[in-house]
């Protein structure tokens, strides 16, 4: 079938959303919804929440915190649904370049949903390009950002490090997360530094809570009841609330859906329309992409739609959830991608050493050198990979030990 001809007949240019210019833009402040619960009086420390439903957590720990008014950090569920309804739903070619995708979707004030998990299938190439465009090329302004994810490591630290160098180009204001560090290698130095300095507003969930919020978003419902958070201090500090279950009568904690303005994800394989296959851990990638109002997906391999249609059960992210597809080999480097390569622990260590110099000694020079070496002196993500060298990448491929993928 001649798809191009069909697109021309329906009057829609290839690769462009129909109402693109008319999409309402949701800003974190504009998205505020007044919240009336008693224990959400903003700016005060609540030691007794009155008759609000809660677990009795007040007074068990030493925590001190201030209540915040409830806001949606991104589109609210109804806005997110309206945006998705407006989008074109047919199969059109979504392939683009990293640079074009970042220039098209990254704007000040958005919530970026970061897919991947800790050091696995993180959207490194996309984060690299955001830093490159915003900090080095100055083609986009990545300021007043919210980041949402469950657990992340270096890809997010790249953005925060760029903020340390020039906060007029890259600036993360809020992070809704469960965890940020480098597992056995240690803590995330820049994130730790920024939170301890009060530079970032954080909102803490468990890994399940953060995932369930995206799942609610992907399901098109405003909240998700979960059997965690309750009874811990996360019940006090995050944006979930305790309700009484209408059916069992027992307390149940509910979490608001999270709809990123833009999700960024790296997958094993995708076709040109955005149908994605994922092997190894799915992490929360299908939910994060599914909850977003727009998404950029990089893939190790671009595969044919014939192949997708041969094993449709293997599709983990369907085409309507995806806005841009960028084939990028080693797009998850220095993280791991099952069936392709293991993570580059040396590179994580190199970053952490540079970050700790700043956090512990206030010396920003190693961080500057890191960005000089890995961003300023590379035109593309492939140049960055070339700097790591064939031998390193081949070694990481060997360390994956050939996990099975079907592409």
């Amino acid at each position: 079938m001649d798809l191009e001809k069909r697109y021309a007949e329906v009057g829609v240019p290839l690769g462009k959303k129909a109402d693109e210019d008319k999409l309402p833009y949701v800003h974190v402040v504009e998205g505020q919804v007044p919240y009336t619960s008693k224990h959400r009086a903003p700016g005060v420390e609540v030691t007794d929440p009155g008759d609000a439903i809660h677990s009795g957590i007040y007074g068990i720990s030493e925590v001190v915190h201030k209540e915040r008014p409830y806001t949606w950090w991104g589109p609210n569920p109804d806005e997110a649904r309206a945006l998705k309804v407006k989008e074109n739903k047919f199969l059109y070619d979504k392939r683009t370049t990293l640079s074009d995708a970042v220039k098209k979707f990254i704007r000040p004030g958005i919530n970026i949903g970061v897919a991947g998990f800790v050091n696995t299938r993180n959207p490194f190439a996309i984060c690299w390009q955001i830093v490159k465009e915003a900090l080095c090329n100055k083609t986009v302004q990545a300021t007043n950002l919210t980041l949402s994810y469950q657990s992340q490591s270096l890809d997010v630290e790249w953005l925060l490090g760029a903020q340390m160098l020039d906060s007029s180009r890259v600036e993360v204001k809020r992070v809704e997360l469960s965890w940020q560090a480098f597992e056995v290698i240690g803590s995330g130095p820049i994130w730790t530094h920024m939170v301890q300095a009060g530079l970032i507003e954080v909102d803490d969930y468990t890994n399940y809570g953060a995932s369930a919020r995206f799942k609610a978003g992907a399901m098109g419902i405003p909240f998700m009841p979960v059997r965690d958070h309750g009874g811990s201090d996360m019940e006090r500090v995050n944006r979930g609330v305790m309700l009484k279950c209408p059916f069992t009568g027992r307390n149940i904690y509910v979490l608001p859906a999270c709809h990123p303005d833009v999700a960024i994800a790296h997958v094993t394989a995708a076709d040109m329309y955005g149908n994605c296959r994922i092997f190894g851990f799915l992490n929360t990638c299908p939910e994060i992409v599914g909850a977003s109002t727009a998404s950029i997906v990089t893939c190790e391999d671009l595969i044919s739609t014939d192949e997708i249609r041969r094993y449709p059960n293997l599709t983990e992210i369907p085409f309507p959830a995806v806005s841009a597809v960028v084939p990028q080999k080693f797009g998850g480097y220095p993280g791991a991608v099952w069936g392709n390569y293991w993570f580059d622990m040396d590179h994580f260590r190199e970053w952490r050493a540079a970050g700790l110099e700043l956090r512990l000694k206030g010396n920003i020079d190693p961080l500057k050198k890191y960005y000089d070496d890995n961003f300023y002196s590379c035109d593309t993500f492939d140049d960055f990979l070339a700097k790591r060298g064939y031998k390193k990448l081949a070694e990481l491929k060997r360390l994956d030990m050939g996990q099975a993928v079907i592409i």
Binding site: I60, V63, G231, S232, Q403
Partner: protein, 264 residues
Amino acid sequence: MTDKKVKIGPFETICYTGARALEDKTIVFAGTGLPMLACLFAQRTWAPDMNIIFEAGSLGVQMWMGLPLSVGDTRASTRACIIKGLCFAFESQQRGYSDFGFIGGAEIDKYGNINSTCFGEYEKPKVRFPGSGGAGAMAANSDRIIAIMALEKRRFRDKVYFITSLGFGDGSPDYRWTAGVHGRGPYRVVTDVALFGYDVGNTNRMMLLEYHPDLSVEAIQERCELELLISPDVKPMPLPSEEDLNLMITQVDPEAYFLGKTVA
């Protein structure tokens, strides 16, 4: 086998004691680091039919590539019976698949509540840790919780700064029910020099079960800020044999990420 000898340091004891706290033919929801070390050792010794859930979404993993360095590591998903995502892993423990949750943390109080979030004010903390990760959910919904950390006075406190992973809350019998969580709660605390349990169903307070043979009950209390209950059956803890140590260094942590190290 190798001739490489490992002396019985803190992490060897933690690995051995952690594994002893586990049971064969059960499912364990394991966190990063020390829990993995103990699970891998247990699987290679007396719990070959114990299965593991890793939070990134795998169940029934056979870790033939070695010790995973993160719960999202490819090594934490090899030869699994099923691999999905985080929602699958945590929803299966909400559903009741997980007999033990195996977690770490920075501080623990007398009711087994664990902090892995921050010291000081939440909005501008004096010290900020990585955050809950899976631990908060595991503490809520695995049937019983095993905590694992080095025994230090600053970690074993009467009250913690922030409760990330719920234990028995304020110790009252219906606290966890009111909190809306599923699991029975704290079961063991594994450390380098002592093994603790809880006075479950009574005071719900932490109780010393075993102490390192080089130390005494008093010496353990000395190392805790919180006041311990002492089990009437308190006894010295068994230490790993030469054979166990060899197994650890050849099959569990050959790259020595933990073994041979000292507690910071």
